[in-house]
Symmetry: none
Subunit: 344 residues, 3 copies
């Protein structure tokens, strides 16, 4: 994580919290969704604070994108999670925040890196949520560092445009319980969805849902899909880049649906779709707010990865999604290998 | 609510709590589900405490039934809810707890009766959850009082047997989003379901879900169904008797589904079905744990009831459920009238 | 706050969090109890971490005392609370942690000091909660600093012994709902209690309730008492020293009772008593776990203090408690004046 030289307003922020039983599954692994929520809270504070260091309307930073992130080691109940957030790039209307999560066992003193993430925010005026404000520039340690930031900025901008098309896709059909029960290990067998009525504590001062709250719900559904597929202890291994295309307002009902797209020997890829609809203004209809791919692994009692049952693919659509998932899987694998080689 | 003379252990219990923003919907009405959860917590404490006043295994009181209950006046954020619970009848293996909820506006001092409920518990041994313990008898103020209790006991026993059959019924089919969108005001249009992964704070010391937690989830789904049907502010008006046939263990996934069964001029009846399945012991399959009928009304800005759009019934099954709902509606209406006459 | 030179293990810890609607009352003031809970979480992390920097049993730091603390300025929804905790003294078996809370408005950049507190912890072995471990010594910047710490240590030790007697006192009789309603502005009129069934997320890895959770409940009850007395927006102004005499275990029922003891022109003193009892081992009886005095003030719309209605004292006991409260009030007032003079 590169550390540009910044003014006081953009100084890094650290938050920490003891992990409680409610943050974890029954074997004590903290849900990835809770880590994502803490990451986003830190990102939101540091970027809102930075964007208000200038004159003009007061504004809140809204999450628009999270880059692909990996859960490097599990976090357990009783450990302290330390989340550090730092602004690493600013464009005219957006800023990048890099966040690192360290898990500390306060009984043994052992620390480990649990997650590293990069988030993109845009400042929305408090008076008019649709007005995007300008972002005060940060100072960089070197011209090289600024140039690297600009490359990351351009890359994510491209990707956000590309995924905009995908997001318009139709919802998956939920299992119909009057049908005969689905065969085990098919996509339909483990597909799951939840609905959530957005409450005040889910929201920012704008009355829009925090990106971190949405990610926590997405991780929850993905975890249920994965557990239904392999009936073991499952944990979040990574999350592909997530784009937040449309905001979700207080009083909406959010429907979060997860379905398996690809399964390798030791991992499961789950596509998660988030649809929102206003309860009171029903005429506005349901809209796709976010979608993302979560990768889960299955662990034995010693937290070692277990083999995952193969996915029984049915029909053309499932096959196409499986092939696309496989391509993502192979690409990530290759990238991991090349990163490793480069580091040696 | 009759108050029998009881030993010290069975003395009434009083709890109070300020209603918070997250307890309420966006216009500030506290969700009926939160009231039900508080009622059950008080009932659980008073009956567990009573059943442990004797020698033998330590035990926890498990909720087996809630009698029909009405929400007499709305409760708002910032008000203090006072819940009083008292044991009013004991049989050999079960006990009845009567609970009263008063809402107090601490700014004006105004108090109003918000709810009255009767709950039935059985004591389960902490060593072996399937072993039902004996209940220490309470003292009654008069033989008449005891006799009335016995009648209530016999009546609920009969009803629990009767509903056992109904509970085995199949799940309603959830809306299939690849179908063309459902027509407004049909049953399918508003049908909703949520899934919830049972966490540690949902559970008793036995690691079984508190009855109050289940009722809160049921009310949440019913509220979404009602709001989808009429797109206004909706509140819980009453809940028909609920029988808790089977327990739900920590680590289960709970699926809660709600669908409209009957709509009168100013009320909606929603059937809510709760199915549980273990994530880890999938071979045990899904089972129906609870089902109940919730009645909701729609309110305008001054909390006055609004007319409700008529329900478009499709097919034989929906018609049968509508007719059954109408019968329940007319029966309740008649009962309310005769109660009123008797009181005059 | 004096900052002794310490080893790496005793380095200060900072936690921060955005204040949400559920953290606050209906006019947006964050409850003092939530601030106390964050203070205690920071204190628990920093002291547990320090006590495990040596060989021997792993241990958890248990809160035994909080010194008198004042809420210097209100905190609002949307602000970020920064809590900094630092170990400032170590005796053989206990340690002092000083904690500072800054509230930051991330929209305007304004920061203000919200609270300063000093907490005492003792390390309890994870294997045997009754075994108190030794505390590794910290390094002090000067001999004078160490000497000041020793004085604070001796002073609190004396006070803890003295209050031990007070804690054994009988519980106030709860309002009997069948009695005629109490007259307004009497002690009985506003007396309130709540019960809470201790759940897993309330507890440490030892399965004992976090001191911060208990303080949050105490503040909640005190706030209800104060609001009932004056029917306005009330906030916590200060909390007298709190001693945690006995631990509270998971599965206990906690009864928290608050009653007015003294009322000045612009403040109310509320005594809060915490009694715990095991639900299943009722024969062990109820015991007093904690007691403390909370001072509340009443605020108008511009957060300016309002006059408080006089307290109608009835009977000898109430008069004695009123006189004792008045003595505490005058003593605190004098202390504030002399502190002010000294600083000038």
């Amino acid at each position: 994580m590169s550390a540009p030289q910044t003014g006081e307003a953009a100084s890094p922020l650290q938050i920490c919290r003891i992990m409680r039983p409610d943050d974890a599954n029954i074997v004590g692994n903290v849900h990835g969704g809770n880590i994502l929520r803490m990451i986003e809270e830190a990102g939101c504070i540091v970027s809102t604070r930075h964007c208000n260091t200038q004159n003009g309307d007061r504004c809140l930073a809204a999450l628009v994108r999270v880059e692909k992130t990996e859960f490097l080691s599990p976090v357990f109940i009783g450990e302290v999670a330390h989340v550090t957030a730092e602004i690493t790039y600013t464009s005219k209307h957006s800023l990048e925040v890099q966040v690192k999560v360290m898990a500390e066992n306060i009984l043994t003193g052992a620390k480990k890196l649990a997650n590293k993430a990069a988030l993109w925010y845009v400042p929305c005026s408090l008076r008019n949520v649709d007005k995007i404000m300008e972002v005060p520039p940060i100072k960089y340690a070197s011209a090289e560092q600024e140039e690297e930031g600009r490359k990351r900025y351009e890359a994510q901008k491209m990707e956000r445009l590309e995924t905009k098309a995908r997001i318009e896709e139709v919802m998956p059909s939920p299992p119909n319980p009057e049908d005969p029960p689905k065969e085990k290990h098919t996509v339909g067998f483990s597909q799951s969805s939840l609905i959530h009525l957005v409450g005040p504590s889910d929201c920012t001062l704008h009355d829009y849902v925090h990106g971190g709250v949405t990610m926590k719900l997405m991780d929850e559904v993905a975890g249920i899909v994965a557990a239904r597929h392999c009936n073991t202890n499952v944990v979040t291994a990574s999350v592909d880049a997530i784009n937040f295309h449309r905001k979700i307002k207080k009083g909406c009902v959010v429907t979060v649906t997860g379905r398996l797209t690809f399964v390798s020997n030791k991992s499961m890829e789950i596509e998660v779709l988030v649809d929102a609809s206003s309860l009171v203004e029903a005429e506005k209809g349901k809209y796709r707010a976010v979608s993302a791919f979560f990768t889960f692994i299955s662990l034995d009692k010693d937290n070692k990865p277990l083999p995952v049952p193969a996915l029984k693919v049915e029909g053309e659509d499932e096959q196409r999604r499986f092939d696309e998932g496989k391509a993502r899987y192979l690409q990530n694998k290759e990238k991991r290998l090349s990163d490793k080689t480069r580091r040696q």
